[in-house]
């Protein structure tokens, strides 16, 4: 049900595209084929090579890192590096990874639910000041996050909340762009007639949201949650400002602290590199598995 509603607008787009793709246009000669695909390969290589370097570099110990050619295998020290990362400060690195999962997970699951509820209300309900409230939300999309971080830190210190998980968790629940996306999803995936029928059958608005609206919007919910997850996982300035206790840090800030150590102590460098690789693996896996969702999210965001 939900998947078929998701693919509806995209199917329409690809349907009239199919013949074009299907090779009706064979006029492009060998030269143009070579040029186009050659440029695509060069562009993709630019995107991929730095990540590949990270993979190779994480298999080297400090001596090989500075000694051998970058893509040559030195002594294979990946597992040794991972062991060093795990040993440092009593497994602090995995604590950081866990914190990142927690911040990003809560932000994604709960934050997106909050956004989806608001977007659904903006689409399906009639109430006073609807347009001006929505205008407020859109202004929120445009305010740079980093401009609110410092004042938020000051507010948090007024109420004694800095250096607690709440100082990071509460701000990441706010996703105005998610509300905007949810409104788009709600209007395209949840027919008003269905909700009207549910109401006739005696379901209240809350019940019909959770048993009809939300399941129908599930692909949209997952998309918003995925983007929210990545956004929180990547967040650097907020936790950097809010948290001092190393036990509470997400992996992004933790790694940057190690990078600071590695300037005077080069033996930290393999740990920074291996730690970086370990910290992007969860995201890479999530992206490859959830391709369908991020693509639909990018579409909904740009078409409006």
């Amino acid at each position: 049900m939900s998947t078929s509603t998701l693919s509806r607008p995209r199917a329409a787009a690809s349907a009239h595209n199919a013949p074009r793709r299907g090779g009706s246009n064979r006029s492009g000669g060998f030269a143009s084929k070579l040029t186009v695909n050659g440029l695509l390969i060069i562009g993709s290589a630019y995107m991929v090579v730095p990540v590949l370097w990270l993979v190779f570099a994480s298999t080297k110990n400090a001596a090989d890192l500075y000694g051998t050619s970058a893509y040559a295998l030195g002594n294979f020290s990946l597992f040794e590096n991972i062991a060093n990362v795990a040993k440092q400060d009593g497994g602090l690195f995995f604590r950081w990874l866990g914190n990142s999962v927690m911040y990003a997970g809560v932000g994604a699951v709960l934050g997106s639910l909050i956004s989806v509820m608001a977007g659904y209300a903006f689409d399906k309900f009639q109430f006073r000041w609807k347009d001006s409230l929505f205008g407020f939300v859109l202004v929120g999309v445009l305010i740079p996050n980093t401009a609110t971080v410092l004042p938020m830190y000051l507010l948090a210190s007024l109420v004694g909340m800095t250096n607690t998980v709440w100082a990071v968790l509460i701000p990441v629940l706010c996703n105005p762009f998610g509300v905007y996306l949810a409104r788009v999803y709600s209007s395209s995936y949840v027919p008003a007639e269905t909700l009207e029928a549910a109401r006739m059958d005696g379901a209240g608005p809350i019940r019909s949201f959770f048993s009809l609206g939300l399941p129908m919007m599930m692909p949209g919910y997952i998309t918003i949650a995925l983007f929210q997850f990545v956004g929180v996982w990547n967040n650097f300035m907020l936790p950097l400002v809010m948290l001092q206790d190393q036990q509470l840090l997400p992996v992004s800030v933790g790694i940057s602290i190690w990078q600071g150590y590695s300037v005077p102590q080069p033996e930290f460098t393999p740990m920074v590199i291996t730690g970086s690789l370990l910290s992007i693996l969860p995201l890479l896996v999530a992206f490859i598995m959830l391709q369908r969702f991020w693509k639909s999210g990018l579409t909904a965001g740009s078409v409006k």
């Binding site: 186009v36 570099a57 970058a70 009639q126 609110t148 995201l283 740009s302």
Partner: protein
């Protein structure tokens, strides 16, 4: 519930759904607006308030500091600060290099991907999107190593070719940081533009082909104008994102002295708050950054709506 059912049996035009008045809507909206108030409205108001005040110590600096209303004085001081003005100029230069490179690169790559002779579109899409899965901190770290002589294959290869470049010296560090941004964001925007290109009606392209337009001609004069709306959304988010520049320079600053602690306005504000302990100036700087974002995004929106009309 019963009264609600009674009143809604009367058909009312102009209402999306009956029985969904303000009170129900409030239930759905309150959670969002609660976090919105905490994470957006309160910080904006608080930084406005702070930016108009100052901490002043009486006499010789002993005793409690007093908060005094100083009007625009903090703003004047921020704009008189040489490092802040330099930071703004540097950010402007960064935008001038970054935006054409990134957006132009994304447009070209998306058009190439949409060309009829392109192969393996799915694989290429996945590969160009890869950097988006890499957090900004890690991206900056990877490139910081790729710029560091002794560890970098890039520097080594260039030296092998007889080219000596120090990516992290005072002149090169700005383009080097631009490159990190380009690497992080081009692929993301390629996907948006490619999706917009897929919605271009086939009939139009077919007609152009019959009229003798080649692939490149069709890309420039037909496909490109049709993806302008998507492009203006991209411009909007790119400008807002660029003003937030913080992560990459703060990581690179540990690898080179060329990036100072006040290199861009955001770093300046961070430095003001945590190193110089002048919260009021930090707040004024934050307000200036948000104001710049507002002005620029308004300009982009105006410009794009005018372009769409004509």
């Amino acid at each position: 519930m019963a009264t609600q059912a009674l009143t809604t049996t009367v058909p009312r035009r102009g209402r999306a759904l009956a029985g969904t008045g303000g009170r129900t809507a409030a239930l759905f909206l309150v959670p969002f607006f609660a976090v919105f108030a905490i994470a957006m409205i309160a910080p904006v108001i608080y930084s406005l308030v702070l930016s108009f005040h100052s901490q002043q110590k009486s006499g010789l600096g002993f005793g409690e500091a007093k908060t005094v209303f100083v009007g625009l004085e903090n703003y004047v001081q921020v704009f008189q600060s040489e490092t802040f003005v330099e930071g703004i100029a540097r950010l402007g230069l960064y935008c001038l290099i970054y935006i054409p490179c990134m957006v132009g690169g994304a447009v070209v790559f998306a058009l190439l991907l949409d060309a009829s002779v392109a192969k393996a579109r799915k694989l290429f899409q996945l590969l160009v999107f890869l950097p988006h899965a890499v957090p900004g901190v890690i991206a900056a770290l990877i490139w910081a190593y790729l710029y560091t002589p002794g560890i970098s294959p890039l520097v080594q290869a260039l030296q092998g070719g007889g080219i000596q470049i120090n990516f992290l010296d005072a002149h090169m560090v700005l383009p080097s940081i631009v490159n990190i941004g380009v690497w992080e964001w081009t692929g993301y925007n390629v996907i948006i533009l490619f999706t917009a290109l897929q919605a271009v009606p086939r009939e139009i392209l077919e007609a152009a082909r019959v009229d003798g337009a080649g692939e490149i001609r069709a890309a420039i004069s037909i496909k490109f104008p049709l993806i302008l709306p998507a492009l203006s959304v991209i411009m909007l988010f790119t400008i807002i994102g660029t003003l937030q520049l913080f992560t990459e320079p703060s990581i690179i600053s540990k690898a080179t002295a060329s990036v100072t602690s006040t290199w861009v306005p955001n770093l300046w504000a961070y430095d003001a708050a945590f190193i110089r302990h002048n919260l009021n100036q930090a707040a004024a700087a934050s307000v200036i950054i948000a104001g710049l974002a507002a002005i620029l995004s308004l300009a982009v929106t105006r410009l794009s709506s005018r372009m769409n009309k004509s």
